[in-house]
């Protein structure tokens, strides 16, 4: 009868049915979470999207919402994570006091609810903010705390080494800065931290009078930053190359690189919601 009405062999008909059932199983939507958690996750996702689009104000508001949702259900780890993200955006918006306040209690949290990775991340972020605002001593203290909590187990170890190198550069300790940066390069890291290490190495070498080596490291940093399409870093690399070429007496070439850097900076500034930031000392 099945064959007569459908034109299919009964076995084929049965298989189709089973296939349909299995597809229906795949198609079922994931189980819903409580409303507050869903709203917090949604705000977090939208904040990341806003951050990717360069809409810092929206990202700030959404990370804040996410943090408040998580705090309202007493979810310590998730609210600490949202606070770290909110602090990142606050720092980008120039609200450094707020950014530091948000991180204050996380690294020293004595409960076991917040993981050491999160506590170390908070301390690391504090170090970055202090370094950017020129408070080198406080940055060093925060970095030491991060290293101590982390105990070489964190995923951002290369970043911490680079921050250490930055602080050494700030203090004029070019040899230590170069050694730290070279250790990141030799141990390998993600492209963004690798580019940072190449740039720090180039700066240290330039300060130590090793101009040819500095040029090589700047070129490597430029290639990586172009892959990542980070305007402010590309401009910095180009300016660095121009400076080294100038020291080497290759004035005409130096001027070309300086003009390229200027062009990159100007174009980036004209983009809506974008701004370049001097990130190296």
């Amino acid at each position: 009868m099945i064959k007569k009405t459908t034109g299919l062999h009964p076995a084929a008909f049965l298989m189709s049915g089973l296939l349909l059932l299995s597809m229906a199983g795949c198609g079922s939507a994931p189980a819903r979470q409580p409303v507050a958690i869903e709203l917090a996750n949604k705000a977090d996702q939208e904040a990341h999207r806003a951050l990717r689009d360069g809409d810092l104000m929206r990202a700030y508001e959404l990370f804040r919402q996410s943090m408040l949702f998580q705090q309202s259900v007493d979810n310590h780890p998730a609210s600490a994570l949202a606070a770290i993200n909110l602090s990142f955006v606050s720092h980008k918006l120039g609200k450094d006091a707020i950014a530091l306040d948000l991180l204050d209690s996380i690294p020293t949290d004595s409960t076991v609810q917040i993981s050491s990775e999160l506590r170390a991340a908070a301390a690391f972020r504090k170090g970055i903010i202090y370094a950017d605002t020129g408070k080198i001593d406080k940055a060093e203290a925060a970095l030491q705390l991060a290293l101590q909590i982390c105990n070489k187990q964190c995923s951002f170890g290369a970043g911490m080494s680079n921050l250490g190198a930055r602080l050494a550069l700030n203090k004029g300790d070019y040899t230590t800065a170069l050694a730290n940066a070279k250790s990141v390069i030799s141990n390998g890291a993600e492209n963004d931290e690798l580019a940072n290490a190449q740039r720090i190495a180039a700066l240290a070498e330039s300060a130590l009078g090793q101009h040819e080596a500095a040029l090589t490291h700047y070129q490597a940093a430029l290639e990586l930053d172009k892959e990542l399409a980070l305007s402010s870093r590309i401009a910095e690399d180009l300016r660095g190359i121009a400076s080294v070429l100038h020291k080497l007496g290759r004035i005409a070439e130096a001027e070309i690189f300086a003009r390229r850097a200027e062009s990159v900076t100007t174009s980036a500034r004209l983009l809506p919601g974008k701004s370049t930031k001097n990130i190296l000392p």
């Binding site: 795949c26 939507a29 996702q45 951050l51 990717r52 955006v89 999160l118 870093r233």
Partner: protein, 315 residues
């Protein structure tokens, strides 16, 4: 011929057993029908009430009639009367009929922005006697977006006409506003001439040329006469101008009141529309969330980024 079943003990009294089984099934089905009928109000006594609408558009047989959000009946019949109007018959449950008064009305509304149409009954005045079976009640269409748009249009058009009229008056070269401005401009120009003459006179005085003072004074006199003439003209024209200005201002105030009243009357409906739109957006968002988490869309969409923002030692 004896049945084979008779030889088996189990088939003894087979007819009785089957009869009982069938009877139980029939009773079960009947009870089921009875209860569902009671639940759906099939056995609830109802009375017939009528209304007449200019058009039968959006009115359907079976459409619910609600009072304060509760279903009290439904449309049972829809016909064209001798005047080519739509005559609808409603069956209202007797329990609820006393709640409606003789001046009760039914209005056609929508449940939500894209919901089904319903007839919403209003009770009528408390001092009127209760509605009786067979009565005819008033009908109105309303509530929908289209109706709100038509209401707004009807109220805003006269106001806009008034404003247009005022603007035309202001732009008309022979209108009061332009005339007044022209007069003022002329007055100002003449005053400038007068001031120049006085300046000239003062220069002459400074030089101490007494013989020149007399003609200069004559000039001053002439200017003063000019001013006097202008002031007279302004005095003559000003009351009329002020009256016309008053009328214009009154028209403007009237227009503004019309617009305000239109907005006041529409704002409750607009806030309702906003609420419904917000609800619709929320439902759509829910639907999209659910759809994007389900196969096959979940395999096509990029997973959303969550968690910690990437740590960068330089940012």
């Amino acid at each position: 011929m004896k049945l084979l079943a008779d030889k088996d003990e189990r088939f003894k009294n087979l007819f009785v057993k089957i009869s009982i089984f069938v009877l139980i099934a029939v009773v079960g089905v009947s009870l089921n029908l009875l209860f569902s009928g009671i639940k759906k109000g099939l056995f609830t006594p109802k009375s017939t009430i009528y209304f007449v609408a200019a058009s039968g558009q959006d009115i359907k047989v079976g459409m619910s009639v609600k009072l304060s959000g509760f279903k009290i009946g439904s449309v049972s019949k829809l016909d064209l009367n001798s005047k080519a109007e739509a005559q609808a018959e409603m069956r209202i449950e007797n329990d609820y009929l006393p709640l409606l008064r003789e001046d009760a009305m039914v209005s056609l509304k929508k449940e939500g922005v894209i919901g089904d149409g319903v007839l919403e009954a209003s009770r009528g005045s408390d001092d009127r006697p209760p509605l009786k079976a067979g009565a005819i009640v008033e009908f109105e269409r309303g509530g929908g977006l289209e109706q709100i748009a038509v209401d707004l249009r009807d109220r805003l058009y006269p106001a806009l006409d008034e404003i247009n009229h005022l603007l035309k008056d202001a732009n008309d070269p022979k209108g009061d506003v332009r005339q007044m401005l022209g007069n003022l401009r002329q007055f100002s120009a003449e005053m400038r001439g007068t001031r120049e003459r006085i300046d000239h006179l003062l220069e002459q005085v400074d030089a101490g040329i007494v013989q020149d003072v007399r003609p200069a004074l004559r000039s001053v006199k002439k200017s003063a006469e000019g001013i006097e003439e202008i002031v007279g003209k302004v005095n003559h024209d000003l009351p009329g101008l002020l009256n016309k200005l008053d009328t214009s201002m009154e028209n403007l105030r009237h227009s503004s009141e019309t617009i305000k009243s239109a907005l006041d009357n529409s704002s409750p409906q607009l806030s309702g529309v906003m609420g419904e739109a917000r609800g619709l957006m929320s439902d759509t968002r829910n639907l999209m969330d659910s759809a994007s988490g389900s196969w096959p869309l979940n395999s096509m969409m990029r997973p959303p980024v969550q968690g910690m923002v990437r740590m960068d030692s330089h940012d």
